[in-house]
């Protein structure tokens, strides 16, 4: 019995096949696991370990380095408020304080109903609309306190489902097939090209009469 659903398992196998070494798929596979479970369950880490040929401890050790990978459960919606420099200048600290007050949780925590995890985030590269807010990594714009309250009400009522899908940054990403060219073929072509290039360079060098002759 595998932890990944059949569809997920198929996507996982395709991801692994894209890299010269399977371990490169570790992070993408963690994103898949979060898409399925909302967070990185120990069973998922076991399965990923098997797929990329490392131990489950190595998967955990790697995952904990990255802010987007959650080895503890998080709410259905991860609401991130950037408080870095550009957003700070645009009132981010005030918005974060407002969010903590209205949600009744500190940044880093999840509301008791399990709907929202609030995050005090670093720059999200959306600095022209300060203070930048994302929900499950979807930009919802620079928000006023009122707009924030409306957002929360919408999320709780399930009104933003189309625009803001569940966890997993790859949830709407599909590749139309695996690699198209054989690695060995490519390497042979490149070696031949490289040799031809060296020949041309030598010929040009000779033709220009350069050298010590």
């Amino acid at each position: 019995m595998t932890h990944f659903s059949p569809d997920m398992a198929a996507r996982a196998r395709e991801l692994v096949s894209l890299y010269p070494e399977p371990r490169s798929a570790l992070i993408p596979l963690c994103h898949l696991a979060q898409e399925q479970d909302g967070w990185l369950r120990p069973e998922a880490m076991e399965e990923i370990a098997g797929l990329v040929g490392v131990t489950a401890a190595e998967v955990r050790g790697t995952a904990t380095f990255y802010d987007m990978l959650h080895t503890e459960p998080v709410g259905r919606y991860l609401v991130s408020i950037c408080t870095n420099i550009a957003c700070l200048l645009g009132g981010a600290e005030e918005l974060l304080a407002h969010a903590e007050r209205t949600l009744g949780v500190r940044a880093g925590r999840t509301t008791p109903d399990g709907v929202i995890t609030l995050e005090d985030a670093e720059c999200l590269a959306g600095c022209d609309r300060a203070p930048c807010v994302t929900v499950n990594h979807r930009y919802v714009g620079g928000l006023s306190a009122d707009a924030f309250d409306q957002l929360v009400a919408d999320l709780r009522a399930g009104r933003r489902g189309d625009e803001i899908p569940a966890h997993g940054t790859l949830v709407r990403v599909r590749r139309n097939g695996g690699l198209r060219v054989e690695g060995a073929q490519v390497a042979a072509e490149r070696a031949a090209m490289s040799a031809a290039q060296a020949d041309r360079a030598r010929a040009a060098h000779d033709a220009s009469g350069a050298g010590d002759g």
């Binding site: 994103h31 987007m68 420099i85 550009a86 670093e122 300060a130 590749r175 490519v186 070696a191």
Partner: protein, 434 residues
């Protein structure tokens, strides 16, 4: 106001609602540069990039042509595109990926041909959910169009491209950390030497790492020639460049401007760019190139936007992120927030960076929160000096990567320019600005 009539090289399509579709791309000259490149020799393509004198747009400003010429010959080589974009207040690659993913792909394909690499990986910041969707969708379209994969456009050249998501870690923008991350590991920067992945990169193979914007310039350079690119700008800073303008301006956003011919003042005040400061307030200071860069006061507004021009004035254009702070800004708070970022994002391998960033953050926090002590300013400068001895610019390298030595920039600038404000914070336990 100098708004030059330089062509838009990388943002020509972003005004269209459907700028990210293959249809729009093809109807605006898309993939013609790739066809042209495939009809040339790889060396001839590389020679155009060299002639363009295209400086890398990721932060360090290393000439792309030179970097390419350093790629060690080997049957297996890689191109890795850096789309990690996490330097605070930088949001230009974000725009290029979401609004013109085919342009990025065409640039990447041109580079794979010129470099004859085995495969290309585009490492995108994991938080770019829409960017990942748009880019993968564009890649799917490009495969169907015959622009990538086996025997591209019947040329006999074959290459695959893989879009790879990161997972939230600023340090993965540093190129060797990025390679570690792409190998499925923690993003620890690699010990140098080797200084360049061109010798030992991904899986130990020779690798070129270039930024998203650097790649996005290539279609134009191939179509119009390196000389035409080099004719724009001045000196070493050729072509146009994207600047991400944020903070206290009326129109924050990403603007493509001709290098050197445009000044900071133009960018901040011209109606087509920043449109000035809200309430026409005074500018107290601005950050010219991302939070790793030393700050400038308003007397530097007339500096041209050129790599060497800004370096000679004691800072850097860095990632092209310009943040304006007006007279209402509390400089202690600004310096504290930037330092907190570094403290959070230090990967922890080097003691000065790991310990120093935490120390500095705690001292700044207590000053900001009214618990500052008389000796705190000296303490800040002292600890900064331990991370970057002499507090010179560019900083001395004491650590594995340059994140560590970049930490003191904002602190040093803030104390240097606004010492009285710091002292008042300490003395009165509150902010004199409000």
């Amino acid at each position: 106001m100098a708004v030059t009539d330089a062509p838009r090289i990388v943002t020509s399509r972003i005004g269209y609602d459907d700028s990210f579709t293959l249809e729009r791309y093809l109807s605006t000259g898309g993939y013609e540069a790739l066809r042209k490149a495939l009809a040339m020799t790889p060396e001839a393509v590389a020679a155009e990039v060299d002639a363009a004198s295209l400086l890398g747009r990721g932060g360090a400003g290393f000439p792309a042509g030179r970097k390419w010429s350093m790629l060690r010959r080997d049957p297996v080589t890689y191109l890795v595109v850096n789309g990690d974009e996490s330097e605070p207040a930088t949001f230009k690659d974000h725009l290029l990926v979401e609004r013109d993913p085919h342009q990025l792909l065409e640039g990447v394909l041109i580079a794979t041909y010129a470099l004859q690499v085995t495969r290309a990986f585009i490492y995108l910041r994991g938080e770019f959910a829409l960017g990942l969707e748009r880019l993968q969708h564009a890649l799917n379209e490009a495969y169907d169009h015959g622009a990538v994969g086996s025997d591209i456009f019947g040329s006999g050249f074959s290459v695959d491209v893989v879009v790879h998501p990161g997972a939230g870690a600023y340090i993965c923008g540093e190129e060797t950390a990025l390679l570690e991350s792409l190998e499925g590991k923690r993003g620890f920067p690699r010990i140098k030497p080797p200084f360049f992945p061109a010798a030992i990169g991904l899986y130990g193979q020779p690798t070129v790492v270039n930024n998203v914007e650097t790649m996005s310039n290539l279609p134009w350079i191939v179509l119009h020639g390196g000389k035409a690119f080099a004719a724009l700008g001045e000196g070493r800073s050729t072509g146009t460049r994207l600047f991400a303008l944020s903070g206290h301006v009326r129109r924050p956003g990403t603007y493509e401007v001709e290098m050197v011919k445009t000044t900071f003042r133009d960018l901040v005040y011209a109606p087509v760019y920043g449109g000035g400061v809200p309430g026409d307030r005074e500018i107290k200071a601005f950050i010219p190139g991302g939070v790793s860069a030393p700050w400038f006061g308003p007397e530097r507004l007339d500096l041209p936007l050129g790599q060497d021009e800004v370096a000679n004035a004691g800072s850097m254009l860095g990632s092209g992120a310009i943040t304006v702070m007006d007279s209402t800004t509390c400089m202690v708070r600004a310096a504290w927030r930037i330092t907190r970022f570094f403290a959070r994002e230090s990967c922890g391998q080097c003691t000065p960076c790991r310990e120093g960033s935490g120390w500095l953050e705690r001292v700044l926090r207590r000053i900001e929160h009214g618990g500052g002590r008389d000796e705190d300013l000296d303490l800040l400068l002292d600890a900064s000096d331990n991370i970057a001895p002499g507090l010179t610019w560019p900083p001395q390298q004491t650590t594995i990567c340059v994140l560590g030595p970049s930490i003191p920039s904002s602190i040093h600038s803030a104390i240097d320019m606004f010492r009285d404000e710091f002292l008042l914070h300490v003395k009165e336990g509150r902010c004199p600005v409000g």
